[in-house]
Amino acid sequence: MPTYTLKINGSSQSIEAAEDTPLLWALRDQLDMVGTKFGCGIGQCGACTVHIDGNATRSCQLQISQLDGKEITTIEGLSEDGSHPVQEAWKEIDVPQCGYCQAGQIMTASAFLEKNPNPSQEEIRNAMHGNICRCASYNRIETAVAKAAEKKMA
């Protein structure tokens, strides 16, 4: 099987995998980074969201052979100790119920706030619509994104 070098969370990682392996499964199975979750496999739920060069991207839809030279950030690398403003806001608002979708929610929110640091409620609701939370913790996600924006501005 071919070998690929991926730049993940600031460090280069070498993996041997089939070229069509989605980044999601390479992260989870080969690299033991299981924070990125499998939800639907077709880019519809957002549980597998990571940042590619700063853009929120569905890792189930990206093959590892397409990622040469790209900067990949996963939930494990968003901050060293859970201190990213979005993570802190998530904790402060106590967002999760089952918690499974939350890494993806956090990755979508953090990329969004980089581009739109002072979003309206409507903009938050539209930016987050691609991430499904089956427990429907949507009210809290919405509040936490606004809270994180405040924290980033401060």
């Binding site: 199975d29 980074m33 924070g35 968003l78 901050s79 999760p96 499974y100 991430n131 499904i132 429907a136």
Partner: protein, 765 residues
């Protein structure tokens, strides 16, 4: 009503203590059951025996408390709220408490199940008594050290103080406390008292003092906002879930199951699958589950149906190879039973409602007579589709079946059932099985069924390796255990403007409403009252789905009541209050809801939602419902955006007794209400030729953030025993929305999902 529910067992029979070899004290206890007198406590924390106790508290020399919480966590917050109850009575600062998920108790199983919103309700008494007993043991030990009477000492925040003002920390006295006899409460009947001399000899009889539970006014942890105990791990992506679990040498299995209900495997060709790099093997399996379940298949049930065929598993080095391998399999299926479809079900259910083959579940007075004498009889039919659970974490389980022992790890709501079934299936001793529960990425009822555990175990047994069996979204949606499609036909007779009779008929796929459901409001409020049910046995698997039956029944009944209010020209709130008035003082013990409590939540929701003076352009629907032991009223605010009604807000009034953790409780309430709105608006699931017509989120619509109303929660404050919140706020939401949409558009909705009647476009990810 009192907050203190008498227990069946004395503390000595369900609690045991020991000193830990490493220092500190260990308290083991069991919900509800008395322990066997011969049961010994471990002195090594690594040897916690969950076969004897299902929960443990460790108090270290430093006074730090570790609670090994027994109930599986599916997101309902019990891993946080149940330890809060122990910590409250133990009286330690919450910062000093660490919570660890316990493993399975297969011997003295009582209620290690997440489902039915029951964890808190059942745990309340045992947890408080355990915490209080531990506190009293520590006080007794300190009193003995000081040579004073325990009654002169008090304990607060992990510190014991005597009359002279001297203090000892819990950690200072754990060693002595572990040697003391378990104290009883004053006047307690010691019916479960230990008669085992060996056990008695271990404990000093010298110092005992009775335990006393706190008055709710003394609570310092219960009633405060406590964050999720796993929050740091969740927001940093730590391995918590079943799908994250991995061991050395573990392989992955993806399972090919029949694409249509009713089909069985004839043959398969694995040439292409085996050629995929990373695929280790392809095996056929399922005979053991089939043999076991056929033995018990006198009645057609979900397990028999899910296991009634051989299946093919692709074993691979990684998940992706397993998924690709499965796609490359070529299988031939045959129709063992006729393939069903939604159109046919629709007719079947209507025929059942039109027919005479009913089973009576409740009959008060003479409905026929009331209908004959009525000025008017109103009859409406309400329809709901099948629904898949769609847990975000797909079904999965780890199994390592070895000659001497079996390790099972993963997310399951019924760990004991799963372990027992695996033991029986593989002809092994239950004692050889260790089942570890992981956090669950949602349940909603799906993980009550252990089919995925049996599959993992059978595959591991066959290949002789540790294996992780995992489903894809398509597997989950297409080979699930669904909420059954149901139709309700409700008729009411009206005489002189009053409801004189009420008859509800249920036609359901596979199973009918059960337990006390036929006795929920408005049962008890109408003199002539009848609930009749009929069902059709389908080969499609159905089962519990968040708030079973009431998830749809609430909508049908409450929407019907609203229509009756309109027809009789009554205020819909006052009509419900008046009906509830008639229930007060009932001697019918099947009526478990409280008319007063339901009236109070209704009044609170009306007040807080500004129902009497709605804003311009806001249309409100109100309903009150009791299920899962909790009383809830909801008001939905709907506005028109263009020609589309949009749900903007749900005001929820809840009476769940004492609120253990308001922060967590509100999360459950918000989620339940939004889930109720989402599924009644969009949840649609159909079958053609035995096959679901949607298999992933591009074809199946779940509510998303930009469709989500704001949920505002209000609690009725009281000191009654707590009841669960995982389910009760879901059922009323659909009714509140339907009633509000009627006001906004003039259209009554009789069929879910509502969006199908409204030309509403799905938004995809």
């Amino acid at each position: 009503m009192s907050t203190v529910v008498p227990t069946k067992f004395s503390r000595r029979s369900f609690l045991r203590t020991s000193s830990l070899a490493s220092g500190g004290m260990l308290i083991g206890f069991n919900f509800f059951t008395a322990c066997k007198d011969t049961v010994k406590m471990p002195v090594d924390i690594a040897k916690l025996n969950y076969n004897d106790f299902n929960a443990f508290i460790k108090i270290s020399d430093e006074g730090m408390v570790t609670i090994f919480s027994p109930n599986p966590e599916i997101g309902q917050g019990v891993k946080t709220s149940m330890p809060m109850i122990i910590a409250e009575e133990l009286d330690v600062p919450w910062e000093n408490v660490n919570v660890v998920q316990g493993i399975l108790d297969t011997q003295n199983y009582t209620r290690q199940v997440a489902g039915g919103s029951q964890s808190i309700r059942f745990g309340w008494d045992a947890l408080r008594q355990t915490g209080a007993t531990a506190r009293q043991l520590l006080v007794n030990a300190a009193a003995a050290r000081w040579g004073v009477d325990p009654s002169e000492c008090s304990a607060k925040q992990g510190v014991i103080t005597n009359a002279k003002g001297e203090t000892l920390g819990y950690g200072d006295v754990v060693k002595e406390a572990a040697l003391l006899q378990i104290p009883e409460s004053e006047g307690e009947v010691e019916e479960g008292k230990s008669e085992n001399p060996e056990f008695k000899d271990e404990k000093s009889e010298a110092v005992t003092a009775a335990i006393k539970l706190k008055d709710p006014s003394e609570y310092t942890i219960i009633g405060t906002d406590v964050g999720n105990v796993d929050i740091d791990e969740i927001i940093t992506g730590k391995p918590l879930f079943g799908l994250d679990y991995k061991t050395e040498g573990m392989v992955y299995a993806s399972v090919l199951r029949p694409p249509a209900f009713g089909q069985v495997l004839e043959s398969y060709d694995d040439t292409a699958a085996k050629a995929i790099p990373g695929v280790i093997d392809v095996i056929m399996f399922g005979e053991k589950a089939k043999a076991l379940l056929n033995k018990a298949a006198a009645e057609i049930n979900w397990t028999a149906k899910l296991a009634s065929t051989d299946k093919v598993a692709v074993i691979a080095e990684n998940s992706w190879a397993a998924i690709k391998g499965k796609k490359a399999l070529k299988a031939v299926w045959s129709d063992a039973t006729p393939l069903e479809n939604t159109q046919a079900h629709d007719k079947i259910l209507t025929d059942l409602l039109d027919g005479n083959e009913f089973k009576s579940l409740r009959k008060d007075g003479d409905v026929k007579k009331a209908f004959r004498q009525a000025d008017k009889v109103v009859e409406r039919t309400y329809e709901s589709p099948f629904l898949p659970h769609n847990t975000m974490e797909p079904m999965n389980f780890f199994a390592d079946v070895q000659d001497s022992k079996i390790l099972l790890v993963g997310p399951v709501q019924t760990p004991a059932d799963a372990a027992v079934t695996v033991a029986e299936m593989l002809n092994r001793d239950e004692k050889d099985i260790r089942l570890e529960m992981t956090r669950m990425g949602g349940g909603f009822g799906r993980r009550l069924y252990g089919d995925f555990v049996y599959e993992a175990a059978e595959i591991s047994d066959k290949i002789g390796k540790p294996v992780k069996m995992f489903s894809t979204r398509e597997d989950d949606m297409m080979t699930g255990v669904y909420r059954p499609a149901i139709k309700y036909r409700i008729a009411a007779s009206i005489k002189d403007g009053e409801i004189t009779g009420y008859r509800l008929k249920e036609a359901a796929i596979n199973g009918n409403m059960y337990g006390l459901i036929p006795n929920f409001f408005p049962a008890g409020a109408i003199e002539n009252y009848q609930v009749d049910v009929a069902n059709y046995n389908s080969n499609i698997t159905t089962g519990a789905w968040r708030a079973p039956y009431t998830n749809f029944l609430s909508y049908a009944e409450q929407a019907f009541l609203d229509e009756l209010a309109e027809i009789t020209e009554k205020d819909p709130v006052q009509m419900r209050l008046d009906l509830l008035e008639k229930v007060k003082g009932t001697t019918d013990d099947r009526i478990q809801y409280s008319a007063e409590r339901l009236q109070d939540v209704l009044k609170l929701a009306v007040e807080k939602s500004m129902y009497r003076e709605p804003k311009e352009g806001v249309f409100q629907g109100v309903c009150a419902y009791y299920c899962h032991n909790t009383h809830v009223a909801e008001v939905a605010d709907v506005v028109m955006e263009g020609d589309q009604p949009v749900v903007k807000k749900i005001t929820v009034a809840v009476d769940c007794g004492i609120v253990i953790n308001p922060l967590g409780a509100k999360n459950q309430i918000e989620g339940g209400a939004i889930d109720g709105v989402g599924h009644s608006m969009y949840g649609d699931f159909a079958f053609e030729n035995g096959m679901p017509t949607s298999n992933n989120y591009d074809k199946y619509r779940l509510i998303r953030m930009n469709e989500t109303p704001v949920v505002e929660t209000h609690f009725v404050k009281n000191t009654l025993s707590p009841t669960g919140l995982g389910e009760p706020t879901l059922p009323p939401a659909g009714a509140a929305v339907a009633i509000a949409i009627k006001k906004a558009t003039g259209n009554r909705l009789y069929k879910q999902p509502f969006a199908n009647n409204m030309n509403s476009k799905p938004i995809l990810g």
